[in-house]
Assembly symmetry: C2
Homo-oligomer: 349 residues x 2
DNA sequence: TAGAGCCTGGACAACGTTGTCAGGTCCAGG
DNA sequence: CCTGGACCTGACAACGTTGTCCAGGCTCTA
């Protein structure tokens, strides 16, 4: 009979592919279980000679500590979860990376998931992460009711919301100044002589979209310009519909001479439409986009710092875990207007 | 005396913030431990009435199953790891998202980490993921020796390498046709009359960079054009140095009339340099970039499908886990030349 | 009405690790 | 030679879950 594998006959044998455990290492090194544990964790109180023998057995068997068991015993997973809308969106890449860097500095791994802007999927993801007992959560909300998180937060899961505030729950939030940024961007167009300014943005149920719309309205009101419904297009985000919305604004009886685009995806489509348009139309977009400076004209944008959002949120998260953070707070990061040409075009009527 | 918390006196009380366990739920519902387990896992053999009582207790206590314990018992974590270079790079966002979608379809979560192109950090990340007993790994290698993974793979961790092949180990690999893509791109420039063509790429120790360089050389050789050292710049990736390299090629005694850019970051910088350059210079870049069609001229690129890379790799990973996949294989996905203007400019000498 | 068979529920061990604690060895000092 | 302390080492329980197995109560049929 060949070597009988450990646990033979008890399981098909594919449990972790039959990995060696500390017990196996201990047997091979001729020491106690706990001594192996000590060596693996670099705890003091082991003779160099013993340590050498254990280390040898570890290498020979290819032992790797099972963190699931460790977590079960210790209660901390050294991992944090990040739930965002879509990792493929260039806005979230740097944000995610920033969270990862902070986590790494604290010795934690990052688990992330995309909600695809679906509240149910967000909840499903968040709860799955809680079941894994992540130490903390950074969430970019898709839904607007986060009461389902209350038991988790009570149970000690550190939580920070980013980019959009949480709904019906008191928690840390890190936001960009969407209102101020949009207001400044629109005011910039007004300062360059525009009065008929269009706004194309996402569904107002998304907080950022609503705030930017509010900024648009505020700037118009400050300048004493009445806003026409035909100048506003809300809830529009896929390229086809943005295109149609932009074309309608440009063609109506009261055509706009400038457009404020509510996010990076809208901006890109609007650029395409304007490129085909005969009359010159000014444009300011929310969110910076790569190569914006190389287009003709350069694209003027209200830029937010995605990496700073992620970093700030993650740092708050770990301060919650340290216990150095007291009450939940709302932090707002400033935006920056970057003028490159498209926002400085004069009205062409 | 107020309600004494469970485990009072044993621990500071912050272990998972004292979350309820199945035992607690069982006690509250007045049933046995295993019955709670059955309800939580939707196993048959529980009366509706009992199930209701248990469910009530679960809701009241805010119970959430501890997946660490579950994993320890079951041996599968339902999570896969993804190690890539930099999540903030727009090339990796869609790739990561594609892996996530496939994982999600298989009920698994995605843990990902950025190696920052550092082999040590790659190994550290991979081993940390193995310690968490991820079921599988998708790795975009930073280093060129992956023997350290051998015990893990033997132990049953499914593994697929993407974008670059693994070093010194036999494993599944999913690649783009870097050689063919680069050769076609350069041949395209040659077909438009260019003979002095520059190449700017990353360090040849990176497989993709080496393959693209090889494609460049092959195309030149096929056309019988001797390549001058001054036309090639390798290992250059930060904007400052790419800029200098490009300027030198354009200014030398034998100035290039066209440039092949080895990756998206190089392309972007070269575009900037060319925009300031008096003479018209043709450009083909490897990797597509957003808005490439809106520049003047549009940027001709060799596009690879990042999402397809991720999807293909993840699908192979789960086929390994199903056991339906046999021997390790090497899959090469085609690239696509997208002509937009910059690659069709005639030589300007 | 008794026995067979089915359904529901619970006791118990095991997963691999770490914290606690006690035993054992070795040496210095009395 | 004995005592005490410092230092190593290992036995054991516990973390929260799931798989196995058995007990008890029910229904149905002969």
């Amino acid at each position: 009979m060949p070597d009988t594998p450990r646990r033979a006959g008890r399981l098909p044998g594919n449990r972790y592919g039959n990995r060696p455990t500390m017990k196996d290492v201990a047997a091979r090194a001729g020491v106690g279980l706990k001594t192996v544990s000590r060596v693996v964790n670099g705890e003091p109180g082991v003779t160099p000679e013993t340590e050498r023998r254990v280390q040898e057995a570890i290498d020979a068997l290819g032992f790797r500590r099972n963190d699931s068991a460790r977590v079960l015993r210790k209660g901390r997973t050294a991992s944090v979860g990040l739930v965002l809308e879509d990792l493929a969106d260039p806005f979230y890449g740097p944000l995610s990376r920033a969270v990862e860097e902070v986590a790494r500095a604290h010795g934690a791994l990052l688990i992330n998931g995309s909600s695809a802007e679906d509240p149910d999927r967000e909840q499903e993801l968040v709860l799955a992460l809680c079941a894994r007992r992540v130490d903390g959560l950074v969430v970019i909300p898709a839904g607007d009711d986060h009461q389902y998180l209350e038991p988790e937060i009570k149970a000690g899961v550190a939580t920070v919301f980013v980019d959009r505030p949480a709904g019906r729950i008191d928690a840390d939030v890190v936001l960009s100044d969407n209102f101020g940024g949009a207001r400044d961007g629109v005011a910039h167009l007004i300062a360059h002589g525009h009065r008929r300014i269009g706004f194309i943005g996402d569904m107002p149920r998304i907080h950022t979209a609503a705030e930017r719309l509010r900024g648009y309205r505020a700037a118009m009101e400050d300048a004493g310009i009445p806003v026409k419904d035909a100048w506003m297009s809300l809830g529009v985000t896929d390229p086809e519909r943005v295109r149609r919305a932009a074309e309608e604004m440009l063609a109506g009886p009261d055509p706009v001479t400038a457009v404020f685009a509510g996010n990076n995806r809208v901006t890109v489509t609007v650029i395409r439409v304007l490129a085909e348009h005969a009359r010159s139309v000014a444009l300011v977009g929310f969110d910076d986009i790569e190569l914006a400076d190389l287009l003709q004209p350069g694209v003027t944008v209200v830029a937010q710092d995605a990496a700073a959002l992620g970093r700030t949120a993650a740092e708050r998260l770990f301060r919650q875990l340290d216990g150095t953070l007291l009450a939940p707070d709302r932090i707002e990061l400033p935006t920056r207007l970057i003028t490159r040409g498209s926002g400085e075009l004069p009205p062409a009527d």
